[in-house]
């Protein structure tokens, strides 16, 4: 009866932004709008994934992402199972492959994995029949974070194409930065990355992003600032000399915003925030900030991803 279907979703897994096209990104974002509406209902739950079982396999600490995935699954009426590294057989030395295949033997449909090793989600997708969603693999990718960021930008500014987006912080160690750059470039935004030289990966220009080491340059003309969390534990490794120096050179505060950025600049942060370091207290809670909306949108975007992946019939024979 419905003729407005359009393109068909064909991917079984969501492993990274690198693997999906501009059209596929747009499709997820369009679908997410419908799911955001579901979240605003008196009963924010639909029966779409009833009878499906989703596993949250989190081998690295996470609050927000795990809660968001779990809630998204529950809103779609799927059954969820959470496994965290600290309470699982990983500690007994079971391999990722064995853990995943054992869980799957209990007839699961989708596995959401967060792991410290880059490529863990790709690896997993080759040894299980379930759909795999990458919820962060080392410093590689965090595709759903990038998608929710794109959704938030689109919701706030109406589009992504042609916007100036600056990503500020530890670019080299950030999967959020990597997935965001890929998504922004695919959607036609002008990306600037900014941070200390020790936090800038080699050959970053090849991604299509402009590089600057001056915060002022990143703030000028920016429609969106995506400010990354500074992993304080890295300071010990000598990547930046002192927290105070970082705040001075790269911390975003009211004064710097006023001096260099526009009044309508949108500020995003993937969380958790180090208040007073990468982002000052007053800016984090200011009218510029859409940080909490990002969290809300995260659930809608993850619902859209789960919905789309669940439409792909699983391969009958066991993929190796």
């Amino acid at each position: 009866m419905k003729r407005s279907g359009g393109e068909k979703w064909t991917k079984k897994h969501l492993l990274g932004i690198e693997d999906i096209s501009r059209e596929e990104i747009t499709m997820i974002l369009d679908q997410a709008k419908g799911f955001k509406e579901v979240l605003s209902r008196a009963i924010p739950k639909v029966p779409t994934l009833r009878g499906k079982t989703l596993v949250n396999l989190f081998c690295e600490p996470s609050t927000r992402t795990r809660a968001s995935f779990e809630l998204a699954a529950k809103r779609l009426s799927a059954d969820t199972l959470s496994i965290t590294a600290s309470s699982s057989s990983f500690l007994k030395g079971e391999s990722l492959r064995d853990t995943a295949r054992n869980i799957e033997a209990m007839h699961t449909d989708m596995i959401i994995i967060r792991h410290a090793s880059p490529g863990a989600a790709h690896f997993l997708s080759r040894c299980v029949r379930s759909s795999v969603i990458n919820a962060g693999d080392g410093a590689h990718e965090h595709p759903t974070q990038a998608l929710l960021d794109m959704f938030t930008i689109r919701e706030k500014l109406g589009r992504v194409e042609g916007l100036n987006v600056s990503i500020i912080g530890d670019i080299a160690h950030s999967r959020v930065a990597r997935s965001n750059i890929l998504a922004l470039v695919k959607l036609g935004a002008k990306v600037t990355v900014c941070g200390p030289k020790t936090m800038m990966p080699l050959e970053i220009e090849k991604t299509g992003a402009r590089v600057t080491y001056q915060l002022e340059e990143a703030l000028k003309k920016a429609d969106v600032l995506n400010i990354l969390r500074i992993q304080l534990e890295r300071q010990e490794k000598g990547i930046f000399p002192s927290t105070r120096e970082y705040i001075k050179s790269f911390g975003v505060n009211r004064e710097k915003l006023k001096r260099y950025a526009g009044k309508k600049t949108v500020i995003m942060h993937p969380g958790p925030i180090n208040r007073g370091i990468e982002l000052s207290q007053d800016v984090a809670d200011s009218e510029h900030s859409v940080i909490l909306e990002q969290v809300t949108n995260g659930v809608a975007v993850r619902m859209a991803v789960m919905f789309l992946l669940s439409q792909i019939k699983s391969v009958p024979e066991r993929a190796r």
């Binding site: 009866m1 419905k2 359009g6 679908q31 419908g34 509406e37 639909v46 669940s310």
Partner: protein, 184 residues
């Protein structure tokens, strides 16, 4: 659509007259507009719901709340549909609890769409009643569902389909019977 033979069964004027008659019937049966609300099933049912609501307003000089419902997330055949379903938003900006809901769709066929809409509606509240209004009833029910208001009964074969075209959505307005190659 290959080798599909179309024959027009209702013109734009026919559709307008039918919707007027149905609006009268709705008012007659419900004795006015009190607690009445019209909710259309997306996509085309939503446009029909708007028309019925505006007819009612003209007749009774009172506005009735209008909503639109997208049933994609409630379907039981999601993995069987060839084209990828797109999730649209359900737009019901009023509390349906205690209301007399007129549920509107373009074509009533197996009844499965209506079944989905009913499941979804009760997740929004507890209406006093739900009545079903369809522009075309083409038969072949697979569920115990019957319409309260029918624009036109059109007995069809399984190999045929009915296409309702709405001005605002399809660029022209008519109802056609399609033989072979239809994708209803």
């Amino acid at each position: 659509m290959k080798d599909a033979k179309e024959s027009r069964v209702l013109s734009k004027d026919d559709v307008a007259r039918i919707l007027k008659r149905m609006s009268h019937e709705i008012l007659e049966k419900n004795q006015g507009v009190e607690n009445l609300a019209v909710i259309g099933i997306k996509s085309r049912g939503a446009f029909l719901a708007e028309r019925i609501a505006s007819n009612i307003e003209t007749l009774e000089k009172k506005k009735v709340p209008v909503g639109a419902i997208d049933i994609t997330l409630y379907r039981d055949d999601l993995t069987e549909v060839a084209e990828h379903p797109v999730v649209h938003s359900t737009e019901i900006s009023f509390d349906i609890t205690g209301m007399k809901i007129i549920l509107v769709d373009d074509v009533l066929y197996t009844g499965r769409t209506v079944r989905c809409a009913l499941s979804e509606l009760v997740d929004f509240g507890r209406p006093a009643s739900i009545q079903l209004a369809v522009l075309v009833d083409r038969g072949h029910r697979e569920l115990p569902i019957r319409p309260d208001y029918v624009g036109k009964n059109m007995p069809t074969g399984r190999d045929e389909s009915i296409e309702v075209r709405i001005d605002d959505f399809d660029g022209k307005e008519e109802v056609v019977l399609v033989k072979n190659g239809g994708d209803e």
